[in-house]
Point group: C2
Amino acid sequence: MTHTPARSHLTLGAGGEFDAIRAMLRVWGGQATGIGDDAAVMPLPEGESLVASTDASFEHVHFRREWLTPREIGARAAAAALSDLAAMAATPVGLLLALGVPAAWRIELDALAHGVGEVAAAALCPIVGGNVSRAGELSLTITVLGTSPHPLERSGARAGDALYVTGLLGGPGAALDALLRGATPRDVERARFASPRPRIAEGRWLAEHGARAAIDVSDGLVADAGHLAAASDVQVVLDLAALPCVEGIAPESAASSGEEYELLVAFPSDERPDTEEFRARFGIPLTAVGRVTAGRGVSLEGRSDRVDLPPGHDHLT
Amino acid sequence: MTHTPARSHLTLGAGGEFDAIRAMLRVWGGQATGIGDDAAVMPLPEGESLVASTDASFEHVHFRREWLTPREIGARAAAAALSDLAAMAATPVGLLLALGVPAAWRIELDALAHGVGEVAAAALCPIVGGNVSRAGELSLTITVLGTSPHPLERSGARAGDALYVTGLLGGPGAALDALLRGATPRDVERARFASPRPRIAEGRWLAEHGARAAIDVSDGLVADAGHLAAASDVQVVLDLAALPCVEGIAPESAASSGEEYELLVAFPSDERPDTEEFRARFGIPLTAVGRVTAGRGVSLEGRSDRVDLPPGHDHLT
């Protein structure tokens, strides 16, 4: 693992922005390093590439306050961002948090910071910078930086590859369905919705064991398989009957459940991963769910009649 | 200069977010590289440190639509972010743009992208990633990444140092004053307000010629001198009579004008920069404006009676 050596914080000046930053630094303790200069500075491992991604969560668009605690909102935002590093098999080296904060949310800054901090800590990712601004609606825009000798890209799948997915699918989608109709999600569904975990260590293990393409499941398995197929210029065939579903959830629902932050990965046919070793190491399953063929788009097998699955989440329309 | 080699874009899937990204990619052309994977990948120069900063601009907080064209809004946001790399004497390697877009702003995405692109291009900074989301108010959160063998930090000033500032001060403050009272700013003021340029090449030149601390002037010279003093645990003495002001603007106004994106730099007394060479190379002045002493805070000289300057811009209160 690459660690950023701790740098002491600079003395910050006066003013509301700095007060807010100071409060968050108290929450983060030694987890935040070198905050207060114009920019964060991180040493770089030689011979590796820099991997960077930015991800935004807006109130009313990506979450509703009545569905999640402020701590969960922070944790989900950090997980969504770090999941992009997981999909690239990168080792995190820094997280930057830009907050847009309405007046009514200011007392929740500590809780938001706790949520971001706990997920960053689990990913061994220092918090290296950020920005705090007042705004009309709460937003968390998180940029994550990592390094990798060989980043795993979504364009690497080839005809003949086998496809695997980590974990169990369907929880976030079922929780969201319940919340949208005013019902209470089951605990197992709510936990997957409110407290996703980026598969950082899993992504690196998969890359080290022969994976040659990956994408994280953020829009839904079928939608993200479609992104992988388009990027790799191949067809993806998913076997619905094989999907690893949270107990009580139908494969059709699991296949369109978004914000899972599990990984969909492609392995060459002669380099299959040891799924038992994966489960023993990470405590979650790694399941063969389909294959890559020549062609385009996503084809579904494993059920008697074709059903139109709802499309994955679209962030803008 | 370090350049990121061009990487072709991945094929993007369907959906409103991707349509928006495709539209911006058309604007950026070869300036945007490798967009469409989970994260951007950049090669790294050996032996350098990574420098990263994130900066957010929110409608109603940081700008008003009636004051600026969409292209200027994009350009200003990019300049504000890149200015943090300038202050660290870093060479840009990538910019990530996270947009929160209300429905009424969707037709302006091209213009916003043009503005970001023109400033990034001038800084030789590729656009490597981003995020587009619908939102209730327009926001641009820009993360910039750079590298440097020796990043210039705001904590490096020492008693005895001489202080210099780039360019001419006062334009943005005067423009903002005019706009706030419903008047039309003079052209020279409006240009500095609407089209700031990050001093990327200037920052590297200053570091190569002996500067040992720097900060960019975003909150106002006095406020930012205060940040530098606090970070370096010194006192900063500014000579108001020496300030390089836009014609017709009083030093007191220039000293509190924010969003200048000029650089305030400290040089050891035995290593003064050649200000004539600087002006010949960059077309703007480099002016001695004060000194560093033991103590704390900012002291103002060069006028007969003490005036309370307005504090710099506070992003949260």
